[in-house]
Amino acid sequence: MSSKTKKSDVLLSIKGLKIQGFSDEKWHDIINGIDLTLHTGEVLGLIGESGAGKSTLGLAAMGYTQPGCRITEGEIIFDGVDLAKLTDGEKRKFWGTRMTYVAQSAAAAFNPARRLIVQTTASTIRSGIKDQSSAYEDAQQLYDVLNLPDPENIGERYPHQVSGGQLQRVMTAMAMSPRPDLLVFDEPTTALDVTTQVEVLASMRSIVEEFNTAAIYITHDLAVVAQMADVIKVLRYGNEVEEAPTRQMLSAPQQEYTKSLWSVRSLEKSQQVAKDSVLSLKGINAGYGAAKVLNSVNIEVPKGSTVAVVGESGSGKSTAARVITGLLPQMSGSVQFNGEDLPPALANRSKDQKRRIQMIYQMADTAMNPRQTVREIIGRPLEFYLGMRGSEKTKRITDLLEMIELDASFMQRLPGELSGGQKQRICIARALAAEPDFIICDEVTSALDQIVQEGILKLLLRLQEELGLTYLFITHDISTVNAIADQVVVMNQGEVVEQGLKTEVFQPPHPEYTELLLSSVPEMDPDWLTNLIAKRPQQSS
């Protein structure tokens, strides 16, 4: 990344670290012997899928293990002291002062009852690094460096009075306040919208550079880590896959696994040309009570194609889906399906109308009843809509499982016994069981790892080809749009900003909002963020 001056001293060195976690009455290996070296002022990116052990390793760098975990072997030498040998009381002298932590969900990490500046400076004041007035003054300066609006007064607010992106930056200020030697970022931007993510990333990077702090940046997003890290370490199943300087890692990954991670983002669907529409929203106004969320929305969905609805949280894309399914009857406007008007309320729709529109949810965990087996989950629509029973039903369930690339042995499993990708596949099978014409996919891949995402997207594409399905694909991730969509609808604040074929929407000139959205999507180029910030006028949100 950018030039660092003194990078000679080794700040942290981990040797042969092994960590075990306790579950199902047994100790399981989480980390199997990892070495790690971090120099002063260096940013190390830890990357891997869920369960790779990256968070456990990040925390272990601070000598901390989560409840139910234990360090069995290895040493963690921080500035000449082996943290693995210290008691919690002794380690507490380091925590919060010499090493600090930025958590994934800032909203959950802040105490809602105390002012931001009190929380920002708490550990600095308690450990006697600064007195209250100088710590407050310093916090305000940090807010300024982090590009927060009104840095003198924002600290007087409570956590609910600032936005998610701002809160994440306040947490960075909190971590920076005692001027630590080591900062651990654990997926700090995963929960943010892309446009917010850019600003937070830029602030984090500049502050780490300014104070020459060493940092460990944990993420599953390659493009993000490319912006932040000097060195990238790839983990899988608690083992190191490879480690290299960022540029070298991006241009020439050595291991097969790393290459497969890199290739996911290149999936792209060849665009279908539009035919007759199967579903059209005409002048839809809808909202919850007095709050209006959708403002005369028109969306056309051509038969057999995929329409991606993109936008940030609060743009109304999920509300549009609720109107289509009938969960939220519109105030005015009409939903036409196969040329006929659908009754606004779900209760007034016929069983056949309900059958033809199916939905797949973002969180496969909560979309399936944890007490029902896969057989019951997929079997119910078969029984309910198509009246199948007994061996006919079993046969059809087996076929459906085959369609989603799982075998019949899954039939007796409960959702808790499936992985994230398998759960989402079962949800797809449940939707398919109803033999629908039209499927709404609400952020179906955003909770999954990239390789798993790729599998799900390929499956959806294949099913579309085989069964002639039409998808409405709600997402905030532009690379997913590239992979699956024919047409794109860009939404912002309850209105459709732009709509058309993917190639048209992604070609300049764009409306202002589309431009902002598209340019905020991180790219795999390590200079992307630097260039983007140079191009964009300085703004504070």
Binding site: A191, M363, S419, G420, R430, E443, A447, D449
Partner: protein, 305 residues
């Protein structure tokens, strides 16, 4: 914001399959690891059930068989003596298990049927029905339940049917609140929405989608609620409006023989006689609480560390 689920597990991704155990095998495994308190509780409960079921065979005399000697002291013939009109106390204790426990179980079931189904309906409905039921429950809960039960029993007359109905309705308010509260967390889940979108009726959603997921806290509550019902019945019987003579019942047995306690200074065993049915009540309550504690700890995943 899009949250990444904390519960995501990668175990399945590597193809690791969990060992399937049958329900019975899992139960035995849990039993093996159960704490001593819970085992003690289960032994006591099974003992009570056994006594209640086989009362006619276990009891030396009939339930209300009167002997010519009232207030007989403890002897070989009458193990715990006889009461004020000469009935064998041991026999009445054994029959009392049947009556007191049986009525309490029936009442608790009824309370759960009423409170549980209304609570589920209120949680699913979330509008007028919820409002009406919740406010009604608030009103009922505002009146001290023992006094309310006394009033109602003296209005409608104290027979067993009225007793069961009145206590069931009064206790169903607590069950309603609990069911509604836990069901509210489940109602917002996507799978309930998915069932609605499919067009399922309210009955299916209640029974198949929600009930299985709120069962653990309800079962735990069942144990505790049973204790309260049991104590209420005993208290009402002690006050004379509960289970009526000649039916044997622990609450009224305490009252009938209460005066014997004054003779403890002359004969300790005479003083113990009224305490025996009270001890039977206390022992069962404690035993059930032990088992419920264990069950709650197991299902909630809380650890004592």
């Amino acid at each position: 914001m899009t949250d990444i689920p904390k519960s995501y597990s990668a175990t399945g991704e590597i193809g690791a399959t969990l060992q399937k155990r049958s329900l019975w095998a899992r139960f035995l495994l849990d039993l093996k690891k159960s704490p001593y308190t819970a085992r003690f509780g289960m032994v006591v409960i099974f003992f009570y059930i056994f006594v209640a079921l086989f009362a006619p065979w276990l009891a030396p005399y009939g339930e209300s068989q009167v002997f010519p000697a009232p207030y007989e002291p403890w002897s070989k013939e009458f193990v715990f003596g006889t009461d004020q009109i000469g009935r064998d106390i041991l026999s009445r204790m054994i029959y009392g298990a049947r009556n007191t426990v049986g009525i309490a179980v029936a009442t608790t079931f009824l309370a759960f049927l009423i409170g549980g189904s209304l609570g589920l309906a209120a949680a699913i409905n979330r509008s007028w029905l919820d409002q009406i039921l919740s406010r009604l429950v608030d009103v009922l809960m505002a009146i001290p339940s023992l006094i309310f039960a006394l009033v109602l029993l003296s209005i409608f007359g104290s027979n067993i049917t009225n007793l069961v109905l009145i206590i069931a309705v009064l206790d169903s308010t607590r069950v309603f609140r609990l069911t509604r509260a836990v069901a509210l967390n489940v109602v917002v889940m996507d799978y309930v929405e998915a069932a609605r979108l499919r067009g399922e009726g309210i009955g299916w959603i209640m029974r198949r989608e929600i009930l299985p997921n709120i069962l653990p806290p309800l079962i735990a509550e069942f144990g505790l609620r049973f204790c309260f019902v049991f104590l209420t019945i005993a208290a009402l019987s002690f006050l004379g409006v509960g289970i009526q003579p000649p039916t044997a019942d622990w609450g009224s047995m305490v009252r009938d023989n209460a005066s014997l306690i004054m003779f403890a200074q002359y004969d300790l065993r005479a003083g113990l006689t009224p305490l025996l049915p009270a001890a039977a009540i206390a022992l069962l309550t404690v035993a059930i609480n032990f088992v419920v504690d264990w069950f709650l700890q197991k299902t909630s995943g809380l650890k004592d560390e």
